[in-house]
Symmetry: C2
Subunit: 373 residues, 2 copies
Amino acid sequence: MLQRPARLSRGTRSDSAVIANDTFLRALKREPTPYTPIWLMRQAGRYLPEYAATRARAGSFMGLATHPGLATEVTLQPLERYPLDAAILFSDILTVPDAMGLGLSFAEGEGPRFARTAADEGAIAALEVPDMAKLRYVFDAVREIKRALAGRVPLIGFSGSPFTLACYMIEGRGSADFAAVRRMAHARPELLARLVDVNARAVTAYLDEQIAAGVDAVMIFDTWGGLLGADAYRRFSLAPMRAVLRGLTPGRDGAPVPSIVFTKGGGALLDDIAACGAHGVGLDWTVDIAAARARVGGKVALQGNLDPLVLTTDAATVAREATAIVRAAGPAPGHIFNLGHGIVPGTPPDNVAALVETVHAESRKLRSATAVA
Amino acid sequence: MLQRPARLSRGTRSDSAVIANDTFLRALKREPTPYTPIWLMRQAGRYLPEYAATRARAGSFMGLATHPGLATEVTLQPLERYPLDAAILFSDILTVPDAMGLGLSFAEGEGPRFARTAADEGAIAALEVPDMAKLRYVFDAVREIKRALAGRVPLIGFSGSPFTLACYMIEGRGSADFAAVRRMAHARPELLARLVDVNARAVTAYLDEQIAAGVDAVMIFDTWGGLLGADAYRRFSLAPMRAVLRGLTPGRDGAPVPSIVFTKGGGALLDDIAACGAHGVGLDWTVDIAAARARVGGKVALQGNLDPLVLTTDAATVAREATAIVRAAGPAPGHIFNLGHGIVPGTPPDNVAALVETVHAESRKLRSATAVA
């Protein structure tokens, strides 16, 4: 079903054997680790003053995202402050539809906007998998970040999910309820199917290029899949993500590149999501991580799931709530600590330090207590 | 734990034996019915031109809600158009905090607003179960609606859940993420516990008065419980709802008054919700109703769960999607058809007619097919 275009670049992928701290990758494969690795969604972002400074120099969000040097700078910033166990490419989930010609921009203080939508038959029929050369700035950033990391921790690449891209492509911007998308799912299912299909082929090519440029794992952000009914979710969100994962070129070792799928609001469909072919599944903060580990922890790694609002409280609360999640997840291999959604602006950077320290210390304690018992 | 204040009115409750169409009540008790009963959240509302006319005469939303004659008029309007199997009191979920003195209003085209919040220690400590005489307009409306219904179908009374009331009391209005509420849950749990406790006592007294005035069933709308983490949900949303249900005065027959709990976004915690003491559990449109029936259908009735956006498409789509839900729910007793959230403004009234007709016809067919097979 997926046509794989010729790769833009080959043979530049670094060998993951040279990664000094590969705790994240081992946890993702459910191998034992001495402690629970942690990274944070939006760890490079507005809560850091040094990010704000670079962002100001870039002039605009897209100016920052499309400049490999500046993207490298902000990707590395949180790693200078905190002993995080992974870096994540600084970019946006909507780069692919931008490359399809929809014209992405970010109005100050608002979310993403597309200059053109793809909401009717004609516009959707006209969509094609974009020439990956249009996204070269992303792959150049990956290479520059890999050089700057020098094997310190793994680098995670990512994309929005085919369905989440479709949400913004149909509405042209964010929405409280994505009413037009849900209407299309009900009244024009074949049209939405065509849209997520072209998106799936584009996302496959896009992640393949990120892998070729050197990312050590990939994550698919399905921010809006949780808005769909169960059947519609399986058809328009989960199936295209499965197609993307199946379509990715294997890594050098012949094994699939480690992957994570994160559907916000997907807790009720965890069994389905855990069977989609990803190595790991992200959990939002509403999910009971102990119950989730009991249900699917033998099949996939689980990533999450502290409420990001906890990071806006105080260090004692951060330590207490983080400890609760470490303990609820338990000592079995396959937990990657993260938030249940992105860091919110206004998060005090010191609270992030307290979080990383707590997760590392408490998970070491938990493992040694379990080893003794 | 709950102090029960003296009831405002006694002995006015009508005997449910005189209800001509009691399909809804029987389904709620998981007794066999010849077809699946249907009613719709916000069935009296802005999509009906006759509602808009009454609303214009009332001057404001609160003017309408506090006028028993007008509230009766709009409660009955959808029943004149459609053969619905239940009426629901026309009111708002936030009447209780208004009676506590927070000053509820509705700005045109926006949601509810409170003039005062209850977001800190002092304001929360000052809250008391309000004098139910302040809510007499609600109980008067219940009596007038019951007279006007003349036993045609049952009347459902309702309240916002203790936690959902707390959300608006803390923020003073609606919010995309209720950040202040989630922060309080993490950093000041004892304070939030105090707030939901006074709310639970007030909601118990409020629903008790609605029952005394004649409602045949009660529903608790937990619009925002799904924003909480699993443990916080159990403590701050589910436990107070359980306390309310446990605190209600039994009906004339000595049995608990039929009750429904609806937590939007609660699909992942369905097992917990089904054990809270309610006869029925509402499902939002994201839940797989076949899976939910298989899991908890032997313990509670399930109510739902068509995406309300379906009603904004066309009659053929409405019929197809409604049929799918009727079949997914299956012929076993204990399904009440409803939307997965309230009717949206702009819904064509003819689509609602198509929905009601489809649900009645398809569920009759399903039962006879099953009886033959």
